[in-house]
Protein backbone atom coordinates (compact mmCIF):
# COMPACT_ATOMS: atom_id res chain seq x y z
CA UNK A 1 0.00 0.00 0.00
CA UNK A 2 2.86 2.36 0.72
CA UNK A 3 4.23 2.08 -2.80
CA UNK A 4 5.30 5.06 -4.84
CA UNK A 5 2.27 4.80 -7.14
CA UNK A 6 -0.04 5.01 -4.17
CA UNK A 7 1.68 8.08 -2.82
CA UNK A 8 1.13 9.97 -6.05
CA UNK A 9 -2.51 8.96 -6.07
CA UNK A 10 -2.83 9.84 -2.39
CA UNK A 11 -1.24 13.25 -2.95
CA UNK A 12 -3.56 14.00 -5.84
CA UNK A 13 -6.61 12.99 -3.80
CA UNK A 14 -5.48 15.20 -0.96
CA UNK A 15 -4.95 18.14 -3.32
CA UNK A 16 -8.41 17.70 -4.83
CA UNK A 17 -10.14 17.37 -1.49
CA UNK A 18 -8.25 20.30 0.00
CA UNK A 19 -9.09 22.57 -2.92
CA UNK A 20 -12.82 21.97 -2.76
CA UNK A 21 -15.13 23.79 -0.42
CA UNK A 22 -17.83 21.17 -1.05
CA UNK A 23 -17.88 17.39 -0.81
CA UNK A 24 -16.59 15.70 -3.98
CA UNK A 25 -17.91 12.37 -5.12
CA UNK A 26 -15.68 9.34 -5.51
CA UNK A 27 -16.54 9.20 -9.21
CA UNK A 28 -15.22 12.72 -9.80
CA UNK A 29 -12.02 12.09 -7.82
CA UNK A 30 -11.29 8.86 -9.69
CA UNK A 31 -12.11 10.39 -13.07
CA UNK A 32 -9.71 13.29 -12.54
CA UNK A 33 -7.05 10.96 -11.13
CA UNK A 34 -7.29 8.67 -14.15
CA UNK A 35 -6.66 11.64 -16.44
CA UNK A 36 -3.42 12.60 -14.74
CA UNK A 37 -2.07 9.25 -13.55
CA UNK A 38 -1.32 5.89 -15.13
CA UNK A 39 -4.07 3.34 -14.72
CA UNK A 40 -1.99 1.27 -12.32
CA UNK A 41 -1.29 4.34 -10.19
CA UNK A 42 -4.96 4.93 -9.40
CA UNK A 43 -5.92 2.99 -6.31
CA UNK A 44 -9.17 2.58 -4.46
CA UNK A 45 -10.23 5.80 -2.77
CA UNK A 46 -11.06 3.95 0.43
CA UNK A 47 -7.36 3.13 0.92
CA UNK A 48 -6.44 6.78 0.70
CA UNK A 49 -9.17 7.82 3.14
CA UNK A 50 -8.25 5.11 5.59
CA UNK A 51 -4.58 6.17 5.42
CA UNK A 52 -5.45 9.85 5.70
CA UNK A 53 -7.69 9.45 8.74
CA UNK A 54 -5.14 7.29 10.55
CA UNK A 55 -2.48 9.99 10.45
CA UNK A 56 -1.79 12.38 13.26
CA UNK A 57 -3.55 15.38 11.77
CA UNK A 58 -5.89 18.20 12.61
CA UNK A 59 -7.89 17.25 9.58
CA UNK A 60 -9.99 14.32 8.62
CA UNK A 61 -12.01 13.23 5.63
CA UNK A 62 -15.71 12.70 6.19
CA UNK A 63 -18.50 11.54 3.91
CA UNK A 64 -21.22 14.12 3.49
CA UNK A 65 -24.23 13.98 1.19
CA UNK A 66 -22.61 11.29 -0.92
CA UNK A 67 -19.24 13.03 -1.33
CA UNK A 68 -15.95 13.33 0.51
CA UNK A 69 -14.72 16.45 2.25
CA UNK A 70 -11.74 17.48 4.36
CA UNK A 71 -12.81 19.01 7.66
CA UNK A 72 -11.04 20.00 10.85
CA UNK A 73 -11.28 17.46 13.64
CA UNK A 74 -14.12 18.29 16.04
CA UNK A 75 -11.78 18.20 19.05
CA UNK A 76 -10.11 21.36 17.75
CA UNK A 77 -13.34 23.24 17.14
CA UNK A 78 -12.85 25.63 20.05
CA UNK A 79 -9.40 26.55 18.82
CA UNK A 80 -10.49 26.92 15.22
CA UNK A 81 -13.42 29.06 16.23
CA UNK A 82 -10.97 31.62 17.63
CA UNK A 83 -10.07 32.50 14.07
CA UNK A 84 -13.65 33.02 13.01
CA UNK A 85 -14.82 36.59 12.95
CA UNK A 86 -18.43 35.73 12.32
CA UNK A 87 -20.55 34.34 15.11
CA UNK A 88 -22.72 31.34 14.66
CA UNK A 89 -26.22 31.82 13.39
CA UNK A 90 -29.07 30.94 15.72
CA UNK A 91 -29.61 27.27 16.20
CA UNK A 92 -32.70 25.57 14.90
CA UNK A 93 -35.96 26.18 16.70
CA UNK A 94 -37.86 23.32 18.28
CA UNK A 95 -40.50 23.65 15.57
CA UNK A 96 -37.91 23.47 12.78
CA UNK A 97 -36.22 20.42 14.26
CA UNK A 98 -39.47 18.57 14.84
CA UNK A 99 -40.67 19.31 11.33
CA UNK A 100 -37.32 18.34 9.83
CA UNK A 101 -37.31 15.08 11.76
CA UNK A 102 -40.78 14.22 10.50
CA UNK A 103 -39.91 15.11 6.90
CA UNK A 104 -36.63 13.22 7.09
CA UNK A 105 -38.19 9.98 8.32
CA UNK A 106 -41.50 10.11 6.54
CA UNK A 107 -40.67 11.63 3.18
CA UNK A 108 -42.32 12.15 0.79
CA UNK A 109 -44.88 13.72 3.11
CA UNK A 110 -47.56 16.39 2.80
CA UNK A 111 -48.11 19.39 5.07
CA UNK A 112 -51.39 17.99 6.49
CA UNK A 113 -49.62 14.74 7.37
CA UNK A 114 -46.86 16.66 9.17
CA UNK A 115 -49.47 18.75 10.96
CA UNK A 116 -51.28 15.62 12.05
CA UNK A 117 -48.13 14.30 13.70
CA UNK A 118 -47.12 17.57 15.32
CA UNK A 119 -50.65 18.64 16.18
CA UNK A 120 -49.98 22.19 14.99
CA UNK A 121 -50.09 24.21 11.83
CA UNK A 122 -46.75 24.08 9.99
CA UNK A 123 -46.85 26.34 6.94
CA UNK A 124 -44.51 28.95 8.43
CA UNK A 125 -41.93 26.40 9.48
CA UNK A 126 -42.12 24.65 6.10
CA UNK A 127 -41.55 27.92 4.30
CA UNK A 128 -38.50 28.73 6.39
CA UNK A 129 -37.09 25.24 5.83
CA UNK A 130 -37.71 25.62 2.09
CA UNK A 131 -35.93 28.98 2.16
CA UNK A 132 -32.96 27.41 3.91
CA UNK A 133 -32.99 24.68 1.25
CA UNK A 134 -33.18 21.98 3.91
CA UNK A 135 -36.34 20.59 2.39
CA UNK A 136 -37.72 20.71 -1.12
CA UNK A 137 -40.93 20.00 -2.98
CA UNK A 138 -40.84 16.53 -4.48
CA UNK A 139 -44.15 16.69 -6.31
CA UNK A 140 -47.83 16.44 -5.57
CA UNK A 141 -49.72 13.67 -3.90
CA UNK A 142 -52.57 12.20 -5.90
CA UNK A 143 -55.67 12.72 -3.87
CA UNK A 144 -58.01 15.43 -2.64
CA UNK A 145 -56.43 18.83 -3.21
CA UNK A 146 -53.27 17.27 -4.63
CA UNK A 147 -51.14 18.53 -1.71
CA UNK A 148 -47.42 19.17 -2.19
CA UNK A 149 -45.02 16.48 -1.11
CA UNK A 150 -41.92 17.48 0.82
CA UNK A 151 -38.57 15.78 1.19
CA UNK A 152 -35.12 16.61 2.49
CA UNK A 153 -32.28 17.98 0.34
CA UNK A 154 -28.53 17.27 0.06
CA UNK A 155 -28.14 20.48 2.06
CA UNK A 156 -29.98 18.79 4.92
CA UNK A 157 -27.48 15.93 4.81
CA UNK A 158 -24.60 18.43 4.82
CA UNK A 159 -25.91 20.45 7.76
CA UNK A 160 -26.59 17.39 9.89
CA UNK A 161 -23.38 15.63 8.92
CA UNK A 162 -25.02 12.73 7.11
CA UNK A 163 -23.74 10.78 4.14
CA UNK A 164 -27.16 9.58 3.07
CA UNK A 165 -30.65 9.32 4.53
CA UNK A 166 -29.98 5.72 5.50
CA UNK A 167 -27.35 6.97 7.96
CA UNK A 168 -30.08 8.50 10.11
CA UNK A 169 -30.54 6.55 13.33
CA UNK A 170 -33.59 4.35 12.98
CA UNK A 171 -36.87 5.30 14.61
CA UNK A 172 -36.92 1.89 16.27
CA UNK A 173 -33.80 2.94 18.13
CA UNK A 174 -35.63 5.92 19.61
CA UNK A 175 -38.58 3.71 20.41
CA UNK A 176 -36.30 1.39 22.37
CA UNK A 177 -34.64 4.32 24.14
CA UNK A 178 -37.99 5.73 25.14
CA UNK A 179 -39.22 2.38 26.41
CA UNK A 180 -36.03 1.91 28.43
CA UNK A 181 -36.15 5.29 30.05
CA UNK A 182 -39.74 6.02 30.85
CA UNK A 183 -38.64 7.27 34.22
CA UNK A 184 -35.97 9.60 32.94
CA UNK A 185 -38.45 12.46 32.55
CA UNK A 186 -38.34 14.47 35.67
CA UNK A 187 -40.17 17.58 36.67
CA UNK A 188 -38.63 20.67 35.17
CA UNK A 189 -36.90 22.45 38.04
CA UNK A 190 -38.43 25.71 39.07
CA UNK A 191 -36.17 28.38 37.62
CA UNK A 192 -34.67 31.19 39.64
CA UNK A 193 -35.89 34.67 38.82
CA UNK A 194 -32.60 35.45 37.10
CA UNK A 195 -33.04 32.51 34.80
CA UNK A 196 -36.36 33.59 33.47
CA UNK A 197 -35.06 36.15 31.04
CA UNK A 198 -32.44 33.80 29.73
CA UNK A 199 -34.70 30.80 29.37
CA UNK A 200 -34.66 30.07 25.69
CA UNK A 201 -36.81 27.88 23.58
CA UNK A 202 -34.18 25.24 23.43
CA UNK A 203 -33.36 24.83 27.06
CA UNK A 204 -36.60 24.22 28.74
CA UNK A 205 -38.50 21.61 26.81
CA UNK A 206 -35.33 19.69 26.58
CA UNK A 207 -35.83 17.53 29.59
CA UNK A 208 -32.60 15.67 29.53
Amino acid sequence: MAEMSDSLFFSLCEALLFSSSEPISETVILRIASEYLQDDEVGPLSEFIEWYNQRQSGLKIVKLAGGWQIVTRPEFSDAVRRLKTTTRKARFSRASLETLAIVAYRQPITAPEIENIRGVECSGVLKSLLDKKLITILGRKHGPGNPLLYGTTPQFLMVFGLDELQSLPSLEEFERDLADSDTKYLEIPFPQTDDISSTSNLESVDEK
Binding site: A101, G161, F174, D177, T183, Y185, I196, E207
Partner: protein, 245 residues
Protein backbone atom coordinates in the same frame (compact mmCIF):
# COMPACT_ATOMS: atom_id res chain seq x y z
CA UNK B 1 -46.63 40.14 37.66
CA UNK B 2 -45.15 37.76 40.15
CA UNK B 3 -42.62 35.04 39.70
CA UNK B 4 -45.02 32.18 39.27
CA UNK B 5 -46.99 33.94 36.60
CA UNK B 6 -43.80 34.74 34.77
CA UNK B 7 -42.74 31.16 35.00
CA UNK B 8 -46.01 29.85 33.66
CA UNK B 9 -46.08 32.38 30.88
CA UNK B 10 -42.64 31.39 29.70
CA UNK B 11 -43.37 27.72 29.93
CA UNK B 12 -46.59 27.94 27.99
CA UNK B 13 -44.87 29.65 25.14
CA UNK B 14 -42.52 26.75 24.97
CA UNK B 15 -45.08 24.20 24.03
CA UNK B 16 -44.94 23.46 20.38
CA UNK B 17 -48.58 22.46 20.39
CA UNK B 18 -51.30 20.55 22.20
CA UNK B 19 -49.47 17.23 21.86
CA UNK B 20 -46.35 18.77 23.31
CA UNK B 21 -48.34 20.13 26.23
CA UNK B 22 -50.04 16.80 26.83
CA UNK B 23 -46.73 15.00 26.67
CA UNK B 24 -45.33 17.38 29.23
CA UNK B 25 -48.28 16.83 31.57
CA UNK B 26 -47.86 13.08 31.25
CA UNK B 27 -44.12 13.17 31.75
CA UNK B 28 -44.36 15.38 34.81
CA UNK B 29 -46.49 12.66 36.39
CA UNK B 30 -43.89 10.12 35.36
CA UNK B 31 -46.40 7.73 33.96
CA UNK B 32 -46.40 5.69 30.81
CA UNK B 33 -48.34 7.15 27.92
CA UNK B 34 -50.41 3.98 27.58
CA UNK B 35 -51.45 4.27 31.22
CA UNK B 36 -52.79 7.81 31.14
CA UNK B 37 -55.90 8.65 33.04
CA UNK B 38 -58.03 10.62 30.61
CA UNK B 39 -60.07 12.26 33.38
CA UNK B 40 -57.00 13.54 35.15
CA UNK B 41 -55.12 14.62 32.07
CA UNK B 42 -58.20 16.36 30.67
CA UNK B 43 -58.60 18.37 33.87
CA UNK B 44 -54.96 19.39 33.86
CA UNK B 45 -55.07 20.25 30.20
CA UNK B 46 -58.17 22.41 30.59
CA UNK B 47 -56.64 24.14 33.63
CA UNK B 48 -53.59 25.01 31.58
CA UNK B 49 -55.71 26.34 28.74
CA UNK B 50 -57.67 28.45 31.22
CA UNK B 51 -54.42 29.80 32.56
CA UNK B 52 -53.27 30.68 29.08
CA UNK B 53 -56.48 32.63 28.55
CA UNK B 54 -56.11 34.42 31.89
CA UNK B 55 -52.63 35.44 30.94
CA UNK B 56 -53.98 36.80 27.68
CA UNK B 57 -51.91 34.37 25.75
CA UNK B 58 -53.11 33.65 22.29
CA UNK B 59 -54.59 30.19 22.67
CA UNK B 60 -54.19 28.72 19.24
CA UNK B 61 -57.10 26.86 17.72
CA UNK B 62 -55.07 23.66 17.80
CA UNK B 63 -55.13 23.72 21.60
CA UNK B 64 -58.91 24.07 21.64
CA UNK B 65 -59.39 21.22 19.17
CA UNK B 66 -57.37 19.00 21.49
CA UNK B 67 -59.46 20.12 24.47
CA UNK B 68 -62.60 19.06 22.60
CA UNK B 69 -61.00 15.73 21.69
CA UNK B 70 -60.07 15.07 25.30
CA UNK B 71 -63.56 15.84 26.52
CA UNK B 72 -64.98 13.55 23.87
CA UNK B 73 -62.71 10.71 24.92
CA UNK B 74 -63.51 11.35 28.57
CA UNK B 75 -67.24 11.16 27.90
CA UNK B 76 -66.80 7.94 25.93
CA UNK B 77 -64.89 6.45 28.84
CA UNK B 78 -67.89 7.18 31.06
CA UNK B 79 -70.28 5.29 28.86
CA UNK B 80 -71.07 1.77 29.99
CA UNK B 81 -69.25 -0.80 27.87
CA UNK B 82 -71.32 -2.21 25.08
CA UNK B 83 -72.02 -5.93 24.93
CA UNK B 84 -69.36 -6.93 22.46
CA UNK B 85 -66.68 -4.91 24.23
CA UNK B 86 -65.43 -7.90 26.11
CA UNK B 87 -64.47 -9.58 22.87
CA UNK B 88 -62.20 -6.85 21.59
CA UNK B 89 -61.37 -4.66 24.51
CA UNK B 90 -58.22 -3.34 22.89
CA UNK B 91 -59.90 -1.88 19.85
CA UNK B 92 -62.67 -0.32 21.83
CA UNK B 93 -60.42 1.78 24.05
CA UNK B 94 -61.44 5.36 23.26
CA UNK B 95 -57.95 6.51 24.24
CA UNK B 96 -56.29 4.43 21.58
CA UNK B 97 -56.04 7.04 18.84
CA UNK B 98 -54.76 9.68 21.27
CA UNK B 99 -52.19 7.32 22.73
CA UNK B 100 -51.03 6.40 19.26
CA UNK B 101 -50.59 10.06 18.32
CA UNK B 102 -48.82 10.89 21.56
CA UNK B 103 -46.40 8.03 21.11
CA UNK B 104 -45.78 8.99 17.52
CA UNK B 105 -45.17 12.60 18.49
CA UNK B 106 -42.87 11.56 21.31
CA UNK B 107 -40.87 9.50 18.84
CA UNK B 108 -40.34 12.39 16.45
CA UNK B 109 -39.58 14.71 19.30
CA UNK B 110 -36.85 12.32 20.34
CA UNK B 111 -35.64 12.23 16.74
CA UNK B 112 -35.55 16.03 16.65
CA UNK B 113 -33.34 16.09 19.75
CA UNK B 114 -31.02 13.67 18.04
CA UNK B 115 -30.94 15.88 14.94
CA UNK B 116 -30.01 18.79 17.16
CA UNK B 117 -27.08 16.81 18.60
CA UNK B 118 -25.97 15.78 15.13
CA UNK B 119 -26.04 19.35 13.91
CA UNK B 120 -23.91 20.43 16.85
CA UNK B 121 -21.32 17.75 16.18
CA UNK B 122 -21.30 18.61 12.49
CA UNK B 123 -20.86 22.24 13.35
CA UNK B 124 -17.66 21.47 15.21
CA UNK B 125 -16.00 20.38 11.98
CA UNK B 126 -14.90 23.23 9.80
CA UNK B 127 -14.25 22.96 6.11
CA UNK B 128 -12.45 25.32 3.81
CA UNK B 129 -14.85 28.13 2.94
CA UNK B 130 -15.37 28.90 -0.71
CA UNK B 131 -13.34 31.82 -1.96
CA UNK B 132 -15.12 34.76 -3.60
CA UNK B 133 -14.04 33.75 -7.10
CA UNK B 134 -15.53 30.32 -6.55
CA UNK B 135 -18.85 31.83 -5.68
CA UNK B 136 -18.76 33.82 -8.91
CA UNK B 137 -17.10 31.08 -10.88
CA UNK B 138 -18.39 28.62 -13.40
CA UNK B 139 -18.49 25.81 -10.89
CA UNK B 140 -21.89 26.96 -9.72
CA UNK B 141 -23.43 26.24 -13.08
CA UNK B 142 -23.25 22.51 -12.66
CA UNK B 143 -25.52 22.49 -9.61
CA UNK B 144 -28.90 20.99 -10.35
CA UNK B 145 -31.65 23.52 -10.27
CA UNK B 146 -34.91 22.43 -8.74
CA UNK B 147 -38.36 23.62 -9.66
CA UNK B 148 -38.40 25.62 -6.45
CA UNK B 149 -35.20 27.39 -7.52
CA UNK B 150 -36.74 28.22 -10.89
CA UNK B 151 -39.89 29.54 -9.26
CA UNK B 152 -37.82 31.63 -6.87
CA UNK B 153 -35.90 33.00 -9.82
CA UNK B 154 -39.14 33.76 -11.63
CA UNK B 155 -40.48 35.53 -8.56
CA UNK B 156 -37.37 37.68 -8.48
CA UNK B 157 -37.85 38.61 -12.11
CA UNK B 158 -41.51 39.45 -11.60
CA UNK B 159 -40.64 41.64 -8.65
CA UNK B 160 -37.94 43.36 -10.64
CA UNK B 161 -40.24 43.85 -13.64
CA UNK B 162 -42.91 45.20 -11.37
CA UNK B 163 -40.45 47.77 -10.14
CA UNK B 164 -39.83 48.90 -13.70
CA UNK B 165 -43.48 49.00 -14.67
CA UNK B 166 -44.53 50.60 -11.42
CA UNK B 167 -42.44 53.66 -12.12
CA UNK B 168 -44.97 56.37 -12.81
CA UNK B 169 -43.83 59.64 -14.32
CA UNK B 170 -45.74 62.34 -12.51
CA UNK B 171 -46.41 65.68 -14.15
CA UNK B 172 -44.00 68.14 -12.67
CA UNK B 173 -45.78 70.64 -10.45
CA UNK B 174 -43.14 73.21 -11.35
CA UNK B 175 -42.64 74.25 -14.93
CA UNK B 176 -39.29 75.29 -16.29
CA UNK B 177 -41.00 78.08 -18.23
CA UNK B 178 -42.38 79.65 -15.06
CA UNK B 179 -38.92 79.49 -13.53
CA UNK B 180 -37.41 81.21 -16.56
CA UNK B 181 -39.87 84.08 -16.26
CA UNK B 182 -39.21 84.38 -12.54
CA UNK B 183 -35.42 84.46 -13.00
CA UNK B 184 -35.67 87.10 -15.70
CA UNK B 185 -37.91 89.20 -13.43
CA UNK B 186 -35.42 88.96 -10.58
CA UNK B 187 -32.48 89.90 -12.77
CA UNK B 188 -34.38 92.85 -14.25
CA UNK B 189 -35.28 94.10 -10.75
CA UNK B 190 -31.76 93.84 -9.35
CA UNK B 191 -29.70 94.21 -12.51
CA UNK B 192 -27.82 91.09 -11.48
CA UNK B 193 -28.38 87.89 -9.57
CA UNK B 194 -26.06 85.49 -7.79
CA UNK B 195 -26.35 81.89 -8.92
CA UNK B 196 -26.78 80.73 -5.33
CA UNK B 197 -29.55 83.25 -4.69
CA UNK B 198 -31.64 81.86 -7.52
CA UNK B 199 -32.26 78.71 -5.49
CA UNK B 200 -33.29 80.47 -2.31
CA UNK B 201 -36.99 80.01 -2.94
CA UNK B 202 -36.65 76.50 -4.38
CA UNK B 203 -38.73 74.33 -2.05
CA UNK B 204 -38.05 70.86 -3.37
CA UNK B 205 -35.56 68.81 -5.27
CA UNK B 206 -37.78 69.10 -8.31
CA UNK B 207 -37.88 72.84 -7.83
CA UNK B 208 -34.09 73.00 -7.74
CA UNK B 209 -33.81 70.96 -10.91
CA UNK B 210 -36.48 73.06 -12.69
CA UNK B 211 -34.65 76.22 -11.67
CA UNK B 212 -31.36 74.86 -12.92
CA UNK B 213 -32.92 73.81 -16.23
CA UNK B 214 -34.41 77.29 -16.52
CA UNK B 215 -30.97 78.85 -16.11
CA UNK B 216 -29.50 76.55 -18.73
CA UNK B 217 -32.31 77.37 -21.12
CA UNK B 218 -31.92 81.13 -20.56
CA UNK B 219 -28.19 80.90 -21.18
CA UNK B 220 -28.71 78.77 -24.28
CA UNK B 221 -31.18 81.22 -25.81
CA UNK B 222 -28.75 84.01 -24.88
CA UNK B 223 -31.27 85.89 -22.76
CA UNK B 224 -28.88 85.87 -19.81
CA UNK B 225 -25.18 85.36 -19.41
CA UNK B 226 -23.38 83.61 -16.58
CA UNK B 227 -20.23 85.28 -15.39
CA UNK B 228 -17.62 84.50 -12.81
CA UNK B 229 -14.94 86.67 -11.26
CA UNK B 230 -12.45 83.91 -10.93
CA UNK B 231 -12.47 80.14 -10.86
CA UNK B 232 -14.59 78.66 -8.09
CA UNK B 233 -16.09 82.01 -7.16
CA UNK B 234 -19.83 82.58 -7.15
CA UNK B 235 -21.54 82.81 -10.49
CA UNK B 236 -23.38 85.98 -11.38
CA UNK B 237 -26.27 86.02 -13.80
CA UNK B 238 -26.78 89.11 -15.90
CA UNK B 239 -29.02 90.03 -18.80
CA UNK B 240 -27.47 89.90 -22.18
CA UNK B 241 -26.77 93.43 -23.32
CA UNK B 242 -27.21 93.01 -27.07
CA UNK B 243 -30.76 91.78 -26.61
CA UNK B 244 -31.54 94.67 -24.32
CA UNK B 245 -30.36 97.27 -26.76
Amino acid sequence: MNRIDDYIRIKLELFEGPLDLLLHLIRSQQIDISAISIARITDQYLETIELMKELDLDVAGDFLVMAATLILIKSRMLLPPSENTADNLEEEDPREELIRRLKQYELFKEASLKLEDMEQIRHRMYSRPSTPDEIQGGKDWIIDVSLVDLLTALKDIIIRRKDVIAHIVRPSPVSVREKMTRILELIRENGTLLFSEVFDDASSRQDVIATFLAILELVRTQLIRARQRCLMSDIRLVLCKPRQE
